[in-house]
Amino acid sequence: MRLRIPWDALFDALLPLIATALALLVGAVMLLFLKVNPLTGYAALVEGAFGSPNAIAETLVKATPLLLVGLGICISFQGNVLNIGGEGQMIVGAILGTLVGLTLTDWPGWLVITLAMTAGFVGGAIWGGIPGVLRAYFNVNEILSTIMMNAIAVQLMNYLLRGPMLDPAQASRASKIPQTARLPAAFRLPRWVPTRLHLGVLLALVLAIVVYVFLWRTVWGYRIRAVGKNPNASRYAGIPVKRYMVLALLLSGAFAGLAGVVQVYGVNYRMITDGSATGFTGGAGFNGIVAALFGHLHPIGTIPASILFGALLVGANKMQRVAQVPSALITALNGLVVVFVVSSEIWRRRRERQHLGQVKAAEAAMEDASPPPPPNHEEMQP
């Protein structure tokens, strides 16, 4: 048998990389324009992301919230509900999770961490579920509602961290940092000292497999994807389409909420912001979308994608110090990657259609030769 090279699959896998290369190229032009040598800038970026064990650990720490948010994005985008609310869902999850730790101070650590994660999961689910219900039952565009929910969550956080949840140690100071009190040491996720690499990384990796199994090996996951591919056919097949839309957004929010709790219990040990919109999340709610799109909305593909974008973020800090390039460059490049990746989808669609055309032609040829086959229902068996 001849070895068949899966050119199509190879091409699909390479597309995001080409998109990133293009984005970096545009970035290089921008750097030239700003009178920075792109090679110096990008060398600093790579050095900052992978130059030492500690740098690699930092990259993984940054990748963790991206992966968790990205897993949720996989679920919702597979269901064709577009959750842009990762930022807000992270925040609400973190608020609830932090409250658990600040309230149950004398409970055992493992129990508090578990409860906090549950609380974050639920908080994110609520913040994602509201736009889900509005989308399914009131036909409200979920992109807009999730973006509004982001803004509301940011204001809620600013209010709580400056008021009711403010760190008592900050209360007496003139310029108060908006942050909560520090969580007891027993509640910290274990770390791989001396780095900041924490157990949340492992949790996210395990959950990536769980989400894969959920989406491709369970009835619920199958139905979410069926609704995403073709809501009308799903309705005919008896799937309660609206309920699965809500479920997709709800679960998507839940993973983002978890990301918020992991950030608090694994990295900062308190909830802290700087008053800006991305002060707490570091933009992970948006960058998680980029990572998931990059990973073709596949949970396993999202793992390397998250690491890549985590590396870009960590490297950007180094680039800022060494080459005085503001890390906002990375936000701009991430936007370009999104644009390039969704634009490149056209080739995949074209090929699928071509393939479909060939199948139809073959079927037509068969029909000429034989009696018509029985009516074929949509491919809809769970």
Partner: protein
């Protein structure tokens, strides 16, 4: 301001005056978006276009000393962003919602990057001054509320009847609506779907750029990172609220800006509401408004659907 209450005459005039003024960026952006959506294109990159437009206007005005060059720059930047969006949505038939978010991230990062590299610290400029309209501006109360603004405010309001006219009374408007309702039929009648969408998307970009300029050199006389804080997205929501009609969009923009003005004046007057919660109001309102308006009116049938000619 102490001693004043929310319902004294002077304060009411103040709220109405700032409400009229604050609606300006919403109007530019939302009228542009209305044209786009009527032709079947959902442009979610408005926020990014606004930010880049706001920066371009501010920076060019700062360097050249001319506000007019600034406005021209915001126009050019908006047109370029629109062109890019048109290539992506028309030629590459990309998912419009997601590519819009991509353009948003690009505009946000880019405007911040350029600001940090080229300006560095917060600087203020002398923005456009109010136009004195003979007689009208001198009227008591009414003169203050309606006729104490700069030209960018008046042009924004003029766009409403102009937009209505173009959409409903011109051949171009018919083409735009046909392309948004049934691109296939429009195509078979010889209308170039791509060309019409190119036009609406680029026009939308230009108006979003102007919306940014209206904010940076028309209202606040400053540029700050992420200074639009969601206004571009609210503008998109206003198009739904306004049922894809310029007059409806005007109503929505006024509602929002009045709520915002009220919220600002409550802070000025020291009414004890935490400012963070007060700032939340417009966003909560957006969601409520979407709930009550969207389920009633039908969107353009081809909204957010890429079009490809069948061979």
């Amino acid at each position: 301001m102490s001693g004043e209450t929310l319902f004294s005459g002077a304060v009411l005039v103040g709220i109405l005056t700032s409400g009229i003024r604050l609606a300006t960026p919403y109007l530019y952006a939302a009228i542009g978006e209305t044209f786009g959506q009527r032709s079947g294109v959902l442009n979610l990159g408005v926020e990014g276009q606004m930010l880049l437009g706001a920066f371009a206007a501010f920076y060019v005005a700062l360097v050249t000393g001319s506000l007019w060059w600034g406005v021209l720059a915001s126009l050019a930047v908006g047109a370029l962003m629109g062109l890019a969006m048109a290539v992506v949505t028309v030629n590459f038939q990309a998912e419009q919602g997601i590519s819009g978010i991509g353009f948003y991230l690009f505009g946000m990062g880019m405007s911040d990057l350029l600001f940090q590299k080229l300006v560095g610290t917060v600087k203020t400029i002398q923005g456009f001054q109010p136009l004195h309209i003979p007689l009208l501006s001198d009227l008591p109360v009414v003169g203050k509320i309606f006729f104490s603004h700069n030209w960018m405010v008046y042009v924004a309001y003029l766009l409403v009847p102009l937009g209505w006219f173009v959409l409903n009374k011109t051949t171009l408007g018919v083409k735009i609506r046909a392309v948004g309702e049934n691109p296939k039929a429009a195509d078979s009648l010889g209308i170039s779907v791509g060309a019409v969408r190119y036009y609406t998307i680029i026009q939308g970009g230009i108006l979003s750029g102007l919306a940014g300029a209206a904010l940076s050199v028309g209202l606040l006389n400053v540029f700050q990172e992420n200074m639009t804080s969601g206004m571009g997205f609210i503008a998109v929501a206003l198009v739904y609220f306004g049922a894809w009609k310029p007059l409806g969009v005007l109503g929505g923009a006024l509602l929002f800006s009045m709520v915002n003005a009220l919220q600002l004046w409550m802070q000025v007057l020291g009414i004890p509401i935490p400012p963070d919660l007060a700032v939340m109001l417009p966003y909560v309102l957006t969601i409520l408004v979407l709930v009550v308006s969207v389920s009633k009116v039908r969107a353009p049938a081809a909204l957010a659907k890429p079009f490809e000619r069948e061979e």
